[in-house]
């Protein structure tokens, strides 16, 4: 027999929050009122200006808009992909002020004055960046959806190693890390490729780095 169950409001909010992204939500346990203060706040767009691929872009964004959605929806730069929107897959990886980040885990309004490089800024179809060309040469992708994130990550990984930044698998923190296969795989592990092109991606990156792994 069906048992009527009335879910508590807090439980409902908990479940609903699972589908939401970086949003200013209603406080669990309180009855939400239309036009709550958080909603009124979110209706007022905020001006923000940052540099994308060498060009200054000024935009008005919802405070809740992630950097990822600002790139994709406001600036139509859809090369940066949304795979999970929760920092779990790495498809949204971009390079901000020289450092790779998950653009889904940061709000656009937090990037005033930043220098952002997306996949579109690395190279063009007719003039590929060496990393892009290496991915094509080694077939380091299949469906292509994680690929921009993999490439942005790969470019940043080589810079991180050059800068002497250690990783979980660096055995000696007192010497500069070198690009071994283990280092590369460890550092790239935030970028999931469900098609399973890892073996080829490793070869593409090693090719660009000029090392054999």
């Amino acid at each position: 027999m069906p048992k009527p169950v009335k879910l508590e409001v807090s439980r409902r909010h908990l479940l609903a929050a699972g589908t939401a992204t970086a949003m200013v939500g209603v406080v669990p346990g309180t009855k939400a009122q239309p036009q709550s203060s958080s909603q009124r706040l979110s209706q007022r767009p905020t001006g923000v200006a940052f540099e994308v691929n060498g060009k200054l872009r000024s935009l008005q964004v919802d405070n809740r808009t992630t950097l990822l959605d600002a790139l994709r929806e406001n600036l139509s730069l859809t090369g940066t992909k949304k795979g999970c929107d929760h920092g779990q897959c790495g498809a949204c990886t971009v390079i901000v002020n020289g450092v790779r980040i998950n653009s889904c885990l940061t709000l656009a309004v937090m990037h005033e004055g930043d220098r952002i490089t997306t996949i579109e800024g690395l190279g063009q179809p007719e003039q590929l960046h060496p990393m892009q060309a290496a991915f094509v040469k080694h077939d380091g992708y299949q469906c292509g959806y994680c690929t921009p994130g993999q490439i942005c990550s790969a470019v940043a990984v080589l810079d991180e190693i050059k800068a002497g930044i250690p990783s979980h698998v660096s055995h000696d923190l007192t010497v500069a890390p070198v690009l071994t296969n283990a280092e590369l795989r460890e550092r790239m592990s935030g970028n999931i490729c469900r098609c399973g092109a890892y073996s080829n991606i490793a070869e593409a990156i090693a090719d660009v780095a000029g090392s054999s792994t």
Binding site: R12, S42, H86, C89, T118, Q132
Partner: protein, 739 residues
């Protein structure tokens, strides 16, 4: 073109373009972020509204009440669509559960509403304001429990419609009882999630009663037809466009809620609407590979020859669902006179189970190929040798039906040689590398070759370009490239002169992408259209088309030669045809074969498993492009490694849902998990399967890998785990002492 006799020599045999390693022609677009996926057609749809889907918070029951008021008043909201105001909806042929639930709820996260607003943020926030009260019902969420009373189920894909639910040859029980060496074990595989990187997404736009949907779908015609059925509109009024697809693995074979809700939202709001399923919504809202419980019994003579083999599998699905056909391969893979296979299907209330990469064979081989490893040990035989001894060149159930081509033994032998198999210790737990326990494992790979009709249109334009149009999809498989190679070979032009347009229902209906049938069937359809175009070209040039050869941009016949472009001076030529299949798959069993080899290391202290080496040797007919085919196989090996070691949807048997429904909770292999992988293709051309003489490899690659990993882990530890995934908790307490 009807393919009803073995292929003769044809222009593809030249293999000047086909069969060569060619980088993907869509590579520059994909690697620069310029390839537009479903949610990204901002150049075509300039003013979209955004839809956010609300999913059911219960697994079974009904909606008692829904309060939409707050959501409807929320900033930016244009409309809220639920089952109550959506109008009458049908259900697609390929859908088990309705895509818009309410008031009845069939499964957790079944869509119950879509909120359409000006922005993504507004839609998402408003969706959280919908108040739902549910009348919860008891559901059937426990597979073990449900299988106790589950009836036998027939293979839904069996060509023999009146076949009994059990398949029997000889006298299994009697022969098994008398067999000198016996194995009788139970194996379990869990529910698995496709977890392709691009979430399901659609943009829907109405123009009067015409609907265009930019979406991410493997089977354009199935999706388009089912959307029309669901909405109750003529199929001709629906256009489906899916030029780039961010992975599918079976999860995008069918119409899903993103397309339906985008269409309904667009209708209600009078605006184009884009909807992407949030990642945490996908495992419970869409489909998954169902868990199985399998029993395998094998009786063998002391010489290792199988006398009796039985494989029984049970799985569950929603009402009117299908069994996971995990016993398929056991009917064909090994010899033996006495055989029994059967499946049971439990009716359950978990989300819809359906095809995931190599449905049936992937979980079936995970069990069968551990069983073969266990049998080899009982016999004191090498696992490679056991498989070789039980090879068969005929369908074991129908001795007058040979395999069209079967090189399993060569795959095993060449693989063993290449991998250094002789270094494997027959005694498990015997090889150490510091505190690591090392082991090697092998498994056969097997997957049938499926034939689906496939059409294409080929146009020779006045500028000399050859344009191919077909609704075939490229889900990462390399369709763009192998289709271009096929057209280039047939028309005798450079691949750079070929333009391939895919994934649009305005183009001829193709096989689509699934069941590893896409490559062979779609290129055969292109072959058929090219044969027609060659005839048209020859006719224009006044050549006898049967004798004309096409090469280097020229057409030659006898001592006459003309430029291909001469044929289109007066205007372009267009030809359309499709490949249709005669009965060669009835008279010959068409399958693909392989052998997997894995070296695993198990941490002697923690039980953690690391894969050190992987090799696959494949025999799958002509390989159309070694680069993209190899990628298919390494990708499948990677997914198989995930299945072996980490992938499992955890079931909440009380509430009835998959708990770890995102990419943090459902673990898939990452870079650190996968070593360099090697793939070898045997040189083959199978004239019984198609004019291309090719078969698929994309699913072959996953079949058996899981067992090869599990067997390697066993060889390292001496602890047999029969319940996937092989996680460290399952062998930690029984690991050998590490000094």
């Amino acid at each position: 073109m009807k393919f009803d006799r073995p292929a003769e020599a044809n222009p593809i045999d030249r293999m000047q373009v086909v069969g060569r390693a060619h980088p993907r022609i869509d590579g520059p677009l994909k690697t620069t972020g310029r390839a537009p996926y479903a949610y990204e057609h901002h150049d075509v749809v300039t003013n979209p509204a955004y839809g956010a889907i609300v999913g059911s918070a219960i697994g079974k029951g009904r909606i008692a009440s829904m309060n939409l008021a707050e959501a409807e008043r929320a900033p930016g909201v244009l409309t809220v669509v639920t089952a109550e105001n959506a109008g009458k909806l049908g259900k697609g042929k390929f859908n088990t559960a309705k895509l818009l639930g309410g008031p009845e709820i069939d499964h957790y996260h079944q869509a119950i509403a879509v909120v359409v607003a000006e922005t993504f943020e507004q839609a998402t926030a408003a969706a959280a304001l919908i108040r739902v009260e549910y009348a919860h019902a008891d559901g059937r969420f426990d597979l073990e429990e449900a299988l106790k009373t589950a009836p036998l189920a027939k293979d839904p894909n069996s060509p023999e419609k009146d076949a009994p639910p059990e398949s029997r040859t000889g006298e299994f029980e009697q022969a098994f009882a008398q067999a000198p060496v016996k194995l009788d074990e139970l194996y379990a595989t869990p529910d698995q999630s496709h977890s392709m990187m691009e979430p399901h997404a659609s943009i829907a736009a109405w123009n009067g009663d015409k609907l265009t949907v930019w979406t991410s779908n493997q089977m354009i015609d199935w999706g388009r037809t089912d959307l029309a059925t669901t909405l109750g509109i003529p199929k001709d009024n629906v256009r489906f466009v899916s030029p780039y697809i961010g992975g599918g693995f079976g999860c995008k074979l069918f119409l899903r809620s993103d397309a339906v809700m985008a269409a309904l939202g667009a209708k209600a709001s009078g605006r184009p609407v884009k909807v992407a399923l949030p990642r945490p919504f996908i495992p419970n809202n869409t489909t998954h590979r169902p868990a199985t419980r399998q029993r395998i019994r094998i009786g063998a003579g002391a010489d290792g020859r199988i006398i009796a083999i039985a494989h029984e599998s049970g799985s569950g699905d929603l009402p009117d669902g299908q069994p996971e056909t995990a016993t398929n391969q056991t009917r064909l893979l090994y010899a033996g006179a006495n055989r029994l296979t059967s499946m049971r299907l439990a009716v359950m209330d978990l989300p819809e189970g359906n095809a995931m990469r190599a449905p049936g064979e992937a979980p079936g081989m995970m069990a069968l190929e551990i069983a073969m490893d266990e049998l080899a040990e009982k016999l004191g035989l090498d696992p490679v040798e056991l498989r070789v001894r039980n090879d068969t060149q005929i369908d074991p159930e129908k001795p007058d039906r040979p395999f069209s081509q079967r090189n399993l033994v060569r795959c095993l032998r060449e693989g063993a040689e290449r991998f250094g198999w002789t270094r494997r210790s027959a005694t498990p737990g015997a090889v150490r590398d510091g505190h690591w326990l090392l082991g090697m494992g092998t498994a056969a790979a097997f997957r049938n070759n499926l034939l689906i009709p496939s059409g294409a249109r080929v146009r020779l334009e006045r500028d000399g370009l050859v344009v191919v149009e077909t609704d075939m999809t490229d889900i990462g498989t390399g369709s763009y490239t192998i289709i271009a190679q096929t057209a280039a070979e047939m028309m005798g032009v450079d691949i750079g002169k070929v333009v391939v347009r895919l994934g649009d229902s305005a183009f001829p209906v193709s096989a689509g992408s699934g069941g590893q049938f896409g490559a062979n069937c779609s290129t055969s359809g292109v072959y058929a259209a090219c044969v027609k175009l060659r005839e048209a070209v020859a006719q224009r040039l006044g050549f006898n088309s049967a004798e004309a050869t096409f090469s280097d941009g020229h057409v030659m016949s006898g001592n006459r030669s003309a430029k291909l472009a001469d044929a289109v001076r007066e205007g372009e030529l267009v030809a359309e045809d499709k490949i249709e299949w005669g009965g060669l798959d009835k008279s010959y069993q068409q399958s693909t074969f392989g052998a997997h080899f894995v070296e695993a290391a198990v941490d002697g202290f923690t039980g953690e498993v690391r894969i050190r080496r992987m090799l696959a040797v494949c025999a799958a007919g002509r390989i159309l492009n070694p680069t993209t085919a190899r990628s298919q196989v390494i990708g499948a090996m990677t997914m198989g490694a995930g299945a072996a070691l980490m992938e499992e949807l955890a079931v909440d048997k009380r509430r009835g849902f998959f708990v770890n429904h995102d990419l943090a909770g459902y673990e898939v292999p990452v870079h650190a998990d996968i070593p360099h992988q090697e793939v070898i293709f045997l040189e083959e051309a199978d004239d019984k399967v198609s004019p291309m003489k090719a078969k698929g490899v994309a699913e072959l690659g996953i079949c058996g890998v899981g067992a090869a990993v599990a067997n390697a882990v066993y060889n390292a530890t001496g602890v047999r785990v029969r319940n996937y995934p092989v996680t460290l908790d399952k062998h930690l307490d029984r690991l050998p002492e590490v000094s």
